[in-house]
């Protein structure tokens, strides 16, 4: 392992006994357990980590946390390659491989950094201005060019090999953020016995306490944090979720959080997800997400080596990694001054302390004195120089003299913005707090309180106290009696800040938004061109629109806009953050529901048998149904389907119809309910018989059809189409529970209970007789067409229906689904001597089209019972759902297209469903449209294509020819209007003896 030149020998929260190897841009480095990728790079003296979005400027780390705008890398290789990963949030692991982004051919030499010289052309709004003309070049040239040169990492373009898990959790108190305030809140609530979940985005709890050298209760603050975590860990009512970021607040106290489960490993362990999506429902929450330090906008402020002061302290204190050897501190806040002592303690020379304020507290001056640091008050930095690495800074003193100072590290402090993005998620805007020069949450979300730095309380004592307060209050609100934990002793820390947003007369580019390359000049341009509203500024310049959502830039940008337009910050306005607070992989939202598992799949009990017998399956809603059963040597599906159809019509076939909806309707008033939901009469149906029925929607259109059988005085079993099973069920429930609660009738779906097979064809009776023997008399006299029976056979109940969708002698046999697999095997065995043929939905459909039966294509929500030829079935003796509105003028208009059959005049022509009918020689205009083809099939019995459809005055026009016009597939076929019943119009085959 190579030495880590910038790593100190002692100190920090890293485990030097666990060495880790990793690579960056192919070069090998070493780090330690407890490092982030960023801290390990800093320890190895790597300052240049990326190229910027637009100008390809060299960039180093600005921060040490999830707000990082610069240090984005492509992590891992192959299908696991993850672009735009913040190196500051990646827990280092052995074998980690990362690549820098947006540079070619190398990070140090990037050809497109030439964009930097064309920057006058690339300012705000260049997109809209530069590539206006000629328009046709936009798609062909400009956009591809821009897309190639701008942008960030590359997708792997392979499917994600990892899995993601979803978890639900419930608690009394959710604490968001495990820093000083969050730990106190969790402690106060946890000790009360409330169910507490504590989340922190870091893999280690403690927040800023891990990065500072202050003491709490006389112990180093990081150690104090570890002690609190240990106590929380011991409480059974507290769940600790490190590496978990709460990214969104949703309705009813619901929070979204993403946990990195395996991101610290090269590949997830067996059975382990990469990440876990938490849906947390909390009665109360405490937002203790801390604050984010702000940069100062001055020339060259994006030079690698320019860092936020808080980040410098994190690298130096937490990771014992020195980001430089000679530092300047540029601070407008008291907090920035504490960096001086930390730098000195880490052995970093301090070249200058620059504070634009003319006066600071004497205690601050003492810190500088002890560190032998030259102090420049009333001063500012005009420019940072160095290109790939900071080399010098020019200071303009209070005397307006410019000095050059040599430095390889600049720590910038400009006050902090409370991290309150989550409080915006219901659409509330934060308000400006003049005292701390920052936005704070105004309207709080229901059940949420804010504590610590997130509430704008920056002194450690206040942070600890507000955290404890909020935790205790939250626990009490949820019914627990909480005692405030004593607030531990701390030393006073000055927290005053007078932010300096932008250094006037900066030399060189001064960046506001590092990730989207928005400069102070761009903000000025927006102001000059009238994009002064804060939302316009954002869209015009793209300020705050990068993956970091402007965490380090938005407030600065609007403050500069305020200065430029002579308005106050609150008047200028503020944008709001939206969920997710940090980018979340789409895979985490998808969870296990990808590919074929996108939605649950329903399999019939005969599925395995169908698979064994060569079925191809078709999706019917959630169901998979056998579409056909190919045999070796068959050239295409049509050949297979033709065989299946002929086998049924000439012998016997079996089809799985288990997916059809089945509803058990019981009670003395079952018949009355059916009379009211069907257009025809059912209360008069004899026990042991079935009847075809059609039901309408309330608005008078046809809803569903099927047969309903009567098994006893008080029991009917309804069948629905597969597609409308759930809809019909809820329709019945609504009718009996809401419309007519006075009826004594009960309904329940029994679709899942019964496996059901259609046995159709001239040999159907023989087959069943073979199977059932003496268990039932199937003679036409004993069991006529539309007869039903229930009997015991083979140790279970069998229901038999003599129904026919195919027009053949046919039955449907049902057994409890546990026996479905056994039934199909027994049916096949019983039919072997007749050459029984399994058939799928396609043959089923061909046969119903040959018989002119309507199905989903005709019951399409736009047709009435009258349109479909069932007008006379609508009973006049009773009321039923849809009756009144079915009589609307528009629904009884004689010009409405009506259901008939169609056959091609030239029998060799193929018909297409969806074709529209036009009079012969008529132009293809809407005015000439007479209706459309709903279903087509090749009829192997007739040897040509046949169709069903709706056409004006159809039944009166049998024999007339029209055009079936299908511009989408270049179809224009002359067809003859005919009866929809193509096969056996007399129905003789139904009665086959």
């Amino acid at each position: 392992m190579s030495p880590q030149p910038n790593r100190r020998a002692t100190g920090g929260l890293i485990d030097r006994s666990v060495s880790l190897n990793f690579s960056f841009d192919g070069k090998q480095y070493g780090g330690f357990a407890g490092d982030t990728l960023a801290s390990a790079l800093v320890a190895n003296g790597v300052t240049l980590v990326g190229r910027s979005f637009k100008y390809h400027r060299p960039r180093g780390f600005l921060t040490a946390g999830s707000e990082e705008p610069n240090g984005l890398v492509e992590l891992r290789t192959g299908a696991r390659r993850e672009p735009n990963t913040k190196a500051t949030t990646v827990e280092l692991y052995n074998g980690l491989a990362a690549m820098s982004q947006n540079r070619w051919p190398s990070l140090a030499f990037d050809i497109q950094s030439i964009n930097n010289w064309f920057s006058p052309l690339l300012g705000a709004g260049f997109y809209y201005k530069t590539f206006m003309w000629p328009g046709f070049l936009w798609e062909k040239l400009y956009e591809p060019l821009i897309r190639r040169s701008a942008g960030l990492g590359r997708l792997s373009m392979e499917s994600d090999p990892d899995s993601y898990e979803k978890v639900h959790a419930f608690c009394d108190v959710l604490v968001i953020g495990g820093g000083a305030a969050g730990l106190m809140a969790a402690l106060a609530a946890g000790r009360s016995g409330a169910r507490v979940i504590l989340c922190d985005e870091d893999f280690r709890f403690g927040g800023r306490l891990l990065s500072e050298r202050t003491e709490i209760d006389g112990t180093p603050c990081a150690e104090w944090a570890a002690n609190v975590v240990a106590e929380l860990d011991g409480l059974p009512n507290v769940t600790l979720l490190p590496s978990t970021t709460v990214f969104g607040v949703y309705d009813g106290g619901t929070y979204g959080a993403i946990e990195k489960v395996s991101d610290h490993l090269e590949t997830p362990g067996p059975g382990q997800p990469r990440q876990r999506l938490w849906k947390i429902v909390a009665k109360r929450s405490v937002l203790a997400a801390g604050a984010i330090e702000r940069p100062i906008v001055f020339g060259g402020n994006d030079t690698p080596g320019v860092m936020l002061a808080s980040a410098v302290r994190t690298y130096v204190n937490r990771y014992a990694a020195n980001p430089g050897k000679r530092a300047v501190v540029f601070t407008s806040s008291d907090d920035g001054w504490r960096t001086i002592a930390d730098l000195a303690a880490a052995g970093i020379e301090i070249a200058a302390v620059v504070d634009p304020r003319l006066q600071v507290a004497p205690s601050l001056g003492d810190i500088a004195k002890r560190a032998h640091a030259p102090v420049f008050l009333g001063a500012r930095l005009r420019e940072a120089n160095g290109g790939h690495a900071l080399a010098s800074l020019s200071i303009i003193g209070a005397d307006n003299r410019e000095r050059q100072v040599r430095a390889d590290l600049l720590a910038v402090a400009n006050g902090s913005n409370p991290n309150i993005g989550l409080t915006n998620h219901y659409g509330h805007r934060p308000v400006w707090n003049e005292e701390i020069s920052a936005f704070v949450a105004d309207v709080l979300l229901p059940g949420m309180s804010v504590a610590g730095a997130a509430a704008g309380r920056f002194a450690l004592a206040d942070i600890l106290r507000t955290g404890a307060d909020a935790g205790a209050k939250a626990a009490e609100d949820t019914g627990f009696s909480a005692t405030m934990p004593p607030v531990p002793a701390t030393t006073a820390d000055p927290v005053s800040a007078t932010p300096l947003w932008h250094v006037d007369k900066s030399r060189g580019k001064a960046f506001v938004d590092f990730q989207n390359d928005v400069t102070a000049k761009d903000v000025a341009l927006a102001a000059q061109e009238g994009f002064r509203a804060i939302e316009h500024l954002k869209r015009y310049t793209t300020l705050g629109m990068a993956t970091d959502q402007g965490k380090t830039s938005s407030v600065t940008g609007l403050a500069i806009m305020a200065e430029l337009t002579g308005r106050s910050i609150p008047v200028t306005g503020v944008t709001i953050a939206r969920p997710p607070h940090v980018p979340v992989a789409i895979g985490a939202f998808a969870g296990i529901h990808t590919g074929p598992h996108f939605k649950p799949t329903r399999l019939t009990s005969g599925h395995r048998w169908a698979e064994e017998n060569g079925a191809s399956f078709v999706e019917a809603g959630q169901w998979l149904r056998p579409q056909w059963f190919s045999r070796p040597g068959e050239m295409d599906w049509l050949e297979t389907v033709n065989r299946e159809v002929l086998a049924v019509r000439n012998g016997v076939g079996i089809c799985d119809v288990s997916t059809l909806g089945k509803i058990d309707i019981q009670g003395p008033d079952a018949g009355i309910l059916l009379d009211r939901v069907y257009i025809n009469m059912f209360s008069t149906l004899a026990v042991g018989r079935a009847r075809y029925g059609m039901m309408l929607r309330e608005d008078g259109f046809a809803m569903d059809d099927g047969t309903t059988a009567r098994f006893s005085e008080t029991r009917y079993v309804m069948s629905t189409t597969t597609a409308n099973a759930a809809k019909a069920m809820s329709h019945l429930e609504f009718a009996r529970q809401v419309l007519w609660p006075e009826l004594d009738v009960q309904t329940v779906s029994i679709t899942e209970q019964w496996a059901q097979y259609a046995v159709a064809g001239p040999n159907a009776r023989k087959l069943l007789q073979n199977l059932f023997g003496l268990a039932i008399d199937l003679s036409p006299e004993a069991f006529p067409y539309m007869g039903v029976a229930e009997f015991e056979f083979g140790g279970t109940t069998v229901r038999l229906f003599r129904l026919s969708f195919s027009g053949e002698l046919a039955y449907e046999v049902a057994v409890p689904a546990h026996y479905g697999d056994a039934l199909i095997r027994r049916l096949m065995a019983a039919g072997a001597e007749f050459g029984v043929t399994p058939y799928g939905t396609e043959a089923l459909s061909v046969m119903r089209i040959e018989k002119g039966h309507v199905a989903g294509n005709e019951l399409n929500g736009q047709t009435t019972a009258g349109d479909l030829g069932f007008g006379r079935m609508m009973s006049k003796k009773k009321d039923f759902i849809g009756r009144t509105l079915a009589a609307r003028p528009g629904l009884v208009d004689p010009e409405r297209p009506v259901f008939v059959g169609f056959k091609p005049v030239d029998p060799s022509r193929r018909l297409r469903a969806g074709a529209h009918f036009l009079g012969l020689g008529k132009a293809a205009t809407t005015a000439n449209d007479e209706g459309y083809m709903t279903s087509v099939a090749y009829s192997p019995n007739l040897g040509h294509w046949i169709g069903l459809g709706l056409i004006k005055h159809g039944p009166e026009r049998l024999g007339e020819r029209v055009r079936a016009y299908d511009p989408i597939r270049n179809g224009d076929v002359e067809v003859e209007i005919c009866s929809p019943v193509f096969v056996d119009p007399e129905g003789a085959r139904l009665q086959h003896v």
């Binding site: 899995s163 898990e165 979803k166 978890v167 639900h168 959790a169 419930f170 169910r195 067996p270 059975g271 382990q272 997800p273 849906k279 429902v281 296990i592 529901h593 598992h597 939605k599 649950p600 799949t601 329903r602 399999l603 019939t604 009990s605 959630q622 058990d664 019981q666 009670g667 008080t714 006075e742 009826l743 004594d744 009960q746 329940v748 029994i750 679709t751 899942e752 209970q753 019964w754 496996a755 073979n770 199977l771 023997g773 268990a775 056979f793 083979g794 140790g795 279970t796 109940t797 057994v815 409890p816 689904a817 546990h818 026996y819 479905g820 697999d821 056994a822 039934l823 027994r826 019983a830």
Partner: protein, 183 residues
């Protein structure tokens, strides 16, 4: 040709194995929906108590034993569960004649029993209701959803969980189970 049909379990694949978690299909059990007839509430409660010694729950909860339990799954609707499907529904239909409509569902649902200290943790991953012992106590029941699959869930008197899903969705449910069982 009247030899017995052989029933098949709903789940074809073995369940994930881990310490502190036992998953088994309760195959062969009897299940039936029991829906109260109009104005027969008091009579039904009385009949069930006198015949089976069970207090029909008036809330989403379970009453009874593995031999016979009633699980409240809606207003005036129970799922009755018995140790064997054989004759189960007809027994209930006869016993409750005129007081309730009984429909056989012994094949309609695949019922899993999850027991062991990790059962709750596993189920909580998928269930959008609070399963904490202080909230979802023994004998509690819920009609809910796991991974977009509708289910009925209850706890036995001994603290084991039972989940009933549509039989046709057993494969999809198993997929969720296997993907979530690493605890």
């Amino acid at each position: 040709m009247s030899e017995l049909f052989a029933p098949l379990p709903a789940f074809e694949t073995a369940f994930p194995i881990s310490d502190g978690l036992t998953i088994e299909e309760r195959s062969g059990i009897g299940l039936a929906t029991v829906m109260i007839r109009k104005d027969q509430s008091a009579a039904l409660v009385k009949r069930v108590r006198s015949l089976y010694g069970i207090n029909l729950p008036a809330s989403p909860s379970r009453a009874g034993t593995d031999d016979l339990a009633f699980i409240g799954i809606g207003p005036g609707v129970w799922l009755a569960a018995g140790s064997s499907s054989s004759g189960f529904t007809s027994m209930l239909a006869n016993d409750l004649e005129g007081l309730a409509s009984v429909s056989d569902q012994s094949s309609g649902y695949a019922v899993l029993r999850l027991s062991g200290p990790k059962a709750r943790t596993l189920l909580q991953k998928g269930v959008p209701i609070d399963l904490h012992p202080s909230v979802f106590r023994p004998e509690k029941a819920a009609v809910t959803v796991i991974a977009h699959i509708g289910c009925m869930l209850w706890q036995t008197d001994e603290g084991a969980f039972e989940v009933a899903v549509f039989r046709s969705m057993a494969g999809s449910f198993h997929h969720w189970l296997a993907a979530s069982a690493a605890i």
